[in-house]
Symmetry: C2
Subunit: 269 residues, 2 copies
């Protein structure tokens, strides 16, 4: 996001704060940030982007809001929204915050995974927009539009319920698929030789950072457990059809899922 | 495959036989084949590529072998190998057949999904190679090498066991993930807006053809049921960890799966 903002606003000066000094140095050498900084720099910032694992976010977001000026906009980009919004609900600077979830990313982490154009044509979910000061909404939305994003407003509870299905569950299915295959195939060379792009695509998300994802699973536990229960029920039903040789039913089940084609064709990859 | 063969052998004349006349005409207009043909053309063929759903393959492969000349090589490319190899084991022209599984493809079907270069750096699994006449092995392997493939020899039983994990199971996890989300999200527009490239990647295989896949599931039933049972067991264990708030265990599980990274980085997508 810092890379893209620099392209649209050549006057922008980007300060980077990172708990990991290696990452901060890397971000500096890649030109993602112009200066390394500490929390002391926050009072002079115009725009603050908070992109940290969602468990850290619960601690750090109130602290960031405490430090920023009245005219600064704080953009948090956590993948869960209910707990985060609740945590800052009564903060005296709640109006300085815009709670978002950019539906964009890769399975890679750290500054070397950054690339320009990631947000083009992607969805930016904005929660509780009415709680953000009007002028700061405008400031943030202009940035998001310059990144090429489509804005969608949603309440945090609905966000967490829906995202459990279309994002969080995918990560679990992918992690567990990877685990199942690793357990079975002790000889890595065999997997490598026989796995094609289909397998690679299905387990791609299993490469995601545990430090980012374990806290998301924790914060969205109830919705994820519900989606996981339904997923397991569907897998059990599929298995039962196989065991009882009902392959015409299996054909039908697969055909019914084909309407996904049209939906997925609209998703920019 | 026909497209690539034409690039490497400009003298090749390609005859296409298809039960679906629309597909045959499309293949002709796209230049994938030079002539439409019927089974009557088989006695004059030098190389016969049999690429049909694996249930149809069981019926048609003996028929193809009956019709070809003694010097023709028949390449079958079914995704299951045990039943297919067993079906032709005692055929008097077994030596004319090379049983293969090219680990390459997309989720799309029909002639308009064809593209050159699909097989570059992909794995070609060859089963029971010793049952193919030596001169015909050479003929077939030269074609596969011209396509850019790496050859791996494997027995049909081991193939079916391994491929259940790295390919067949992925398709089921993907289909059921798609089904679970579709059932939950009745408003398609919501899915579309919130789904990102991660979801698209995980359910990509759910766009695969049921006519191709239902028979694969049927022929490799035992191995797939075993892999599905282990996958469901892992999902249940993950769910139990979530329900009992053991998120540090979840972190550890995810981290253990990270060795997939190195394996997957070697797969050409």
């Amino acid at each position: 996001m810092a890379l893209d903002i620099q392209q649209h606003n050549t006057a922008a000066v980007v300060y980077g704060i990172d708990a990991d000094v290696t990452h901060a140095n890397k971000a500096l050498s890649l030109g993602i940030i112009h200066h390394k900084a500490t929390m002391d720099a926050l009072p002079t910032a115009d725009v603050v982007l908070v992109a940290v694992p969602v468990d850290v976010l619960l601690d750090i977001l109130p602290e960031v809001l405490d430090l920023v000026s009245d005219t600064a906009v704080v953009v948090e980009v956590g993948s869960s929204k209910e707990r985060i919004c609740a945590t800052v609900a009564t903060h005296r600077k709640r109006r300085n915050l815009i709670a978002t979830h950019p539906i964009a990313g890769t399975e890679f982490s750290g500054p070397s995974a950054a690339h320009t154009g990631l947000f083009q044509q992607k969805t930016m979910i904005v929660c509780e927009v009415e709680k953000t000061a009007f002028s700061l909404q405008e400031k943030a939305l202009e940035i998001f539009k310059n990144l090429g994003m489509r804005i969608r407003y949603m309440d945090p509870v609905a966000h967490d319920k829906h995202i459990a299905y279309v994002s969080h569950l995918s990560h679990i299915s992918s992690f567990m698929l990877g685990k199942t295959v690793l357990e079975k195939e002790e000889n890595e060379r065999d997997i490598f030789d026989m796995a094609g792009s289909g397998f690679a695509s299905t387990v791609r998300l299993a490469k995601s950072s545990p430090a980012m994802w374990a806290p998301i699973f924790e914060q969205n536990k109830t919705n994820i457990v519900a989606s996981l229960t339904e997923y397991i029920r569907n897998l059990e039903a599929f298995k039962a059809l196989m065991v009882s040789d009902q392959f015409s039913e299996i054909y039908k089940t697969m055909e019914d899922t084909h309407q996904l084609k049209n939906i997925l064709n609209g998703i920019v990859q």
